[in-house]
Symmetry: C2
Subunit: 298 residues, 2 copies
């Protein structure tokens, strides 16, 4: 793992228009991919397309090391894509095998999962699918060296929304079976989505307050980490600051928030391994702390 991307690459990333477009994705991955190719983005072993449910999108990949160790933390990654697209694996690219490889480098079992998409599947299908994957992992991950009591679920963007929704109990399962959850560039308060906004197709035009995860996030005892990228669009900046305000009001403290310096909405997950100081270091610290059997605080 290299600690940091070169300054000129960070400068190019931060110079990109932060709006979430295909161009931003293309430009960000063009900058990041050479570093992932150099570092290697495939774990020693990848078991692909394991079915955790009946839908063709109910699939996950398990990334493991070449060893016989057991009892490892399990790091699950839920990709983004505006509720309507995205995948756990884009062949020939680091998306998102790199996250599995990052997890394995840190001593975890890595899991990349996908889920049903809108418009066919609407709220709370994402939370249900996270719940379904967790249920599958609880039963099967020991066979891959993972500890079913050390599952940490992380998601980006729409994936963070689904993780938050699961943690808030919207998936119809007890979220307290996971050890911790990380939400990267998520949205936690759903207001009245406008046509054309990603939320419109997943939540419909007039969702009730029950679809927002913030109240559930404030209530949970599951350890949480939030992140926001330096170059996240305004909406995501507002959500991150909103979590800080609500958390202070409720708990009297600032939540665990990682400001992902030098990165944008698309490059945050891509910073893992190749720019560890941005997100990987604090994220691994969070995972380690909440999966330690030595009994850290919480």
């Amino acid at each position: 793992m290299t600690d940091q991307l070169p300054p000129d690459v960070i400068a190019q990333l931060t110079a990109l228009d932060p709006e979430i477009t295909a161009e931003l994705a293309q430009a960000s991955w063009a900058l990041l991919t050479p570093f992932h190719e150099k570092a290697g983005y495939t774990a020693p072993q990848i078991d692909r397309d394991l079915a955790y449910g009946d839908d063709p999108r109910h699939r996950l990949d398990v990334h493991t090391a070449d060893d016989d160790e057991t009892g490892k933390p399990v790091f699950v990654y839920v990709h983004g894509g505006g509720f309507v697209r995205g995948d756990k694996h884009i062949p020939g690219s680091p998306q998102y095998d790199l996250v599995g490889a990052w997890a394995v480098r840190h001593g975890y079992v890595g899991v990349t999962m996908t889920y049903r998409l809108a418009p066919e599947h609407t709220w709370p299908s994402g939370a249900q699918d996270v719940a379904g994957a967790v249920r599958w992992l609880k039963q099967h991950i020991a066979g891959y060296g993972g500890d079913p009591d050390k599952i940490v679920v992380a998601g980006s963007s729409a994936g963070a929304v689904h993780v938050a929704s699961f943690v808030a109990g919207q998936g119809g399962a007890d979220p307290a079976t996971i050890a911790a959850a990380a939400m990267l560039s998520g949205i936690y308060v759903i207001r009245e989505p406008q046509p054309g906004e990603p939320e419109h197709v997943y939540y419909g035009p007039n969702p009730g307050p029950e679809v927002s995860s913030l109240p559930g996030l404030l209530d949970t005892t599951i350890p949480l980490l939030f992140s926001v990228a330096e170059r996240d669009p305004a909406r995501f900046q507002q959500e991150a600051a909103g979590v800080v305000s609500a958390w202070l009001a409720r708990h009297g403290t600032v939540p665990d928030l990682v400001w992902v310096g030098g990165h944008n909405h698309m490059s945050t997950a891509g910073s893992l391994t190749v720019d560890e100081a941005a997100l990987g270091t604090p994220l691994a610290r969070f995972v380690d702390r909440h999966t330690s059997t030595k009994g850290t605080a919480q």
Copy 2:
């Protein structure tokens, strides 16, 4: 440098009562000091008690490596102590030679400074002293391998208040001569101090709005980093969340905020070197980015 303290040490730190007392300081340093002794907390060369002004407290120590390199970033540390106590160097302890050693390990020239204290010296003496030290460093630090255009000033607690005050222009000097500033567990809005509160003795009972640094921090173009410890007392949690809210309102973004997981008000600076993932990694990233001649963003 070791990346992380053992989980049981973090658990002991987080179990301490967060109120700022002599007991908290004693207990925190008792936990941290063995790790600093093992890692080493003195830079290869330390030039002590250089006078940057006429007062006996106008003194700074310069920490350097054993090499002839020039043009290094200069990392200045301003200790805390409730405006009325504290020092740059407590003989026989890692306070705060460890910060100089940390800076040298990262390739910087380290500077630890002290300043005049209340009640004899009141606002804005702290900002004036930071300005005086910066002025001295501008003239002399090249002789130690430092680049006078790459000075980063950091402070903890009352030291963070003085750094913020300097950045806000309260020190009677142009703060834009520094490259960046970091405020660890600081206070940025001074309301009506109550007798017995540390601010009462430094600001007096009825300070005007001109003593608060927040407006100046929002105005500056100097890159800023803020941190708050997981176990900082309520007042510091509120200040950190307040900076996030005010920054969002002014800039539409979240500021660079480091949540120092596992640490308290006293142990934050002591996390450097021995628990890099908590603060050192993001802090060094911040310093590197804003002292790079390769032209990163900002």
